[in-house]
Structure formats: C-alpha cells, structure tokens
Amino acid sequence: MKWSTAWLNGGVVLCVLASWEWWVRSLDVPVYLLPGPLAIATAFGMHSRGLIVGALVTTGEALSGLVLGSLFGLLLAMFLNFWERLEPAVMGVALFAKSTPLIAIAPILTIWLGFGPAPKIVITALITFFPVLVNSLTGLRAADPAVHAVMQSWHASRWEVFVHLRWRAQYPYLLAALKSVAPLSLVGAVVAEWLGASSGLGQLMWLAYNNLNLPLLFAAAVVLSLIGSLLYQVVVVFERRLYI
C-alpha cells in the first residue's frame, strides 16, 4: 500500500472514531448504553492483562477446535470420495450435528466436560467441520473430467486419481472454506465461554455484561475482531505460499 493510500484510509478511520466520540459526548449518551472510543481505549488500558490472557485462552480454544474440525471435515470428505454410497448416511448425521443449536448443546457439553477448554474446542469443531466437509467434497468432485479420463486411460487406480488429481483439485474449495471458518471458530469458542467458563474472552464479556461494563465489553469485542481478521490473514498467507 502506498503511503498516501495508508494516510487516506487511516484518516477515514480516525474521522469515524472522532465523530463517534463527538456524537456520544454532545448527546450525553450514558456509558452503559454506548461508550465512546476513548472510554473503550481506557478499558483497554485498565484491563490489558485480563484481555491478553482471555485472548490467549480463546484463541487457543478456537484454533484447537478449528484444526480438529477441519481435519475431521477433510477426513469425512476423503472417506465419502471413496465410499460414495455411504453419503446419505454420513451427510445426514453431519447435517444433524451441524443443525443442532449451539445454545442447546453448549450447557450439556459443559456438564459433561467441565468448565475448562474441552467443551469450547468441541463446539468450535462442530461449527467448523461442516463447511470444510461440504467444500472439500465439492472440490474433490470438481476435478477436470478430461484429465480424469486421461488418467483412467492409464488404468490409474482410484487412489492414484485421488493423490494426483482430486487432492489438488480441491485446494481452492478447501481454502475458501478455511477463510470462512477461521473467523467463525472464534464465535464457537466465545459462545461456549459465555455459557460457562473459568477463563477466556467470552467469560470476560459475560462478566462485563453483568456489571454493565460496556467499555470492557466493547474492548473485548474489538480484540475478538482483531484475532478473527488475523486468523483470516493467516489462511490468505498460507494460500499465497501454496500457489507460488
């Protein structure tokens, strides 16, 4: 990005923040309804340690769930690539697991697995596996039929077709899925924390909410957005490295 472009974009963001602050002050909006940027920044300073620890805990849970869910989705897609006839059963169960409301299963998982990271990881995995499964399966099947015919003419086995053709053909689909589930994984972790946790940004937000500490709630939300964008960027960088 050029310096002039950077200044322009930074300027726009500053203007928005300044008008927000001015609007909150001039209308005398109570801080428990909508805090201004300065109040949120102050909350950052006051609770920096709690926010950093919470961010580390939540990111750890989200990443673990993301990796677990993605691997599970990928393995299921591979399984269905070889055993297509089991697709109705496998997809039926997968869809069932995916459609169950988080709010309904999070407390049950907390009862089973405790207040630690385990239920958060499971919930995040439940959220992330399905998009990966669907996209990966679509990608595996989107392999160029003309290339497939050539490989068939070589009498390639299904495994050889998978290794040399289908696996690579699914990359764009898989990466698209990862781009959408990487930020989503945080939602899973935070919602699970909100419903019962001993640490994490979700728990911090729950506490802030109950104390009507909206500046802290906003500060935690900003941290979550930053982590979400970061996770997305990690996938983007990974994608670039893959194709160059």
Partner: protein
C-alpha cells in the same frame, strides 16, 4: 528395452448411444472393424459422427451397449489392466500444477509396466519441440504447445495400441507437418498399432495403411480405403492425389454404401 506387442483390434457390431432427454441418442450403429497388428489406421468422418466415441470405447473409457471390441482376442479391460493402451484426447488435459516434464513423467509413473519404459520423459519433451519449456506450467503455454505436451505424454508410454483423437488439431500447419512425420516415425519404429481420428484427409492418406470413413450419426463404417502407396509418400503423385480424392468423395457423400 522391451517393445510392446502390437495389438489387433476387432470391432464387431458395435453400438453405443448417449443418454438424452428423449431416451438415448444413438451414436454408433453397428461398427465393424478389423485392424491388423502394427498398422496405422485413420478414422475420418463428419463432425459429431461418433469418431471420438469409438476411440473412447476402444480405450475402455466407455462400455459398448451392443456388439463387442476385442484387442488381440482379449477384452478391452484386460488389455487396459496390462497397460497396453495409450489414449490421447482432443483436449490437452494436462495437470495444471505439474510442469510439462512432470506431466509426462506422471503418465509413466502410473502407466509403467514394471519399469519397462521405452522413452525418457525429458527426451520425449525435446522430441515434440518443448525442450525450453520442460519446466513450464501448462497455463503459461499456448494451446498448441499444451497439445504437444499432451502428445509427449501419450508417446512416452510403452503401449501396443495408440488411440489418438485429433492430436494435431490445435497446431499450426508447419508444426503439424513436422510433428506428424516424427510421430509416424516414432510409432512405426515401436511396431504398435495406431488408430488416429482426424479431419485432415491429406495427412490421413500420407500416414495411414488404411483410412476408414464413417457415415453421419448414427455412424457406420462407410468405406475402408487401403492406402497401398510406398513410403515416404509423394503428395504430388497421381496415386496419392487419387486416394485423397477417393476419401474426400466418401466424406462428401455420407450415405453412400449405407443404404
């Protein structure tokens, strides 16, 4: 070096149709062919008459709905399992994430008969004039270059039967003439049977032992024309031009000999 055994192709009463909204679109209606081992055969016919379908059936990529194909007395599947068939499609169909030489090598890797390879992938890439582009990815090549890469990938195989579906269609005139000659030389040296689908009557007569003219869809073999000229063939000779005329005439009158 182990040369493959040339394959004899017997096609008897072969019928095939593609599924369509109204049931089945009959493409081949009773094709009969007897291709001697080691011969070079061209199949010509109007657009959409089923030439590519016939080749796919011979390659075992499609299953006949009636009639049969035997390759040296064996079913197609058995010959395919012994990796004796090389098929080349109209589209280059290269793997986009592999370089030219890697694409050629992959064919050998999957289709190798216990390491009995006749050709070196790099040498084959050179032979089709892509030496400088051996390390290039298909997306950076022109259509003609991609097709040459696909040709190299087919020719590197140690097959007893070559099924070539218009492999020169995307090449310019000069490259086509030069390549076609080289390919013939290569294939006649290998002693394999070659079945070549083409629209180029002149080239068909120049390269083939037999030219089969297919009728319009649903296709039948309309004419079998023996090209008995000595090689190398003089395209200016009266005999050559008469044969070209004969093939063209058969093509121009697609119902001749059918009814």
């Amino acid at each position: 070096m182990q040369l493959p055994t040339a394959v004899e192709v017997n096609v008897a009463g072969l019928g095939f149709g593609y599924p369509s909204a109204s049931g089945s679109l009959q493409t081949l209606a009773g094709i009969n062919l007897n291709i001697r081992p080691g011969s070079f055969v061209s199949i010509v016919g109007a657009n959409g008459c089923g030439k590519s379908t016939l080749l796919k059936l011979m390659a075992g990529l499609l299953v006949p709905q009636s009639g049969s194909i035997t390759l040296s007395g064996e079913p197609v599947a058995a010959m395919r399992a012994r990796k004796q068939i090389a098929w080349m499609a109209q589209a280059p169909a290269l793997l986009p994430w592999l370089t030219v030489v890697q694409n050629v090598r992959l064919a050998l890797q999957i289709n190798s008969q216990h390491g009995a390879s006749v050709h070196d992938p790099a040498a084959m890439v050179n032979a089709v004039g892509l030496a400088e582009f051996a390390g290039a990815y298909p997306a950076t090549l022109s259509g003609g270059m991609q097709q040459r890469a696909a040709l190299a990938r087919a020719l590197v195989l140690n097959a007893g039967l070559w099924l070539l579906d218009e492999p020169f269609s995307a090449l310019d005139e000069m490259t086509r003439e030069a390549l076609a000659t080289d390919v013939l030389e290569l294939l006649s040296k290998s002693g394999a049977t070659v079945v070549w689908v083409t629209h180029q009557v002149q080239e068909a007569v120049r390269l083939s032992d037999y030219v089969y003219v297919l009728s319009a869809r649903p296709a039948q073999v309309q004419r079998e024309i023996k090209i008995g000229l000595a090689r190398p063939r003089d395209e200016q000779s009266a005999g050559f031009m008469a044969l070209v005329g004969e093939v063209r005439a058969a093509l121009a009158n697609p119902l001749e000999g059918v009814l």
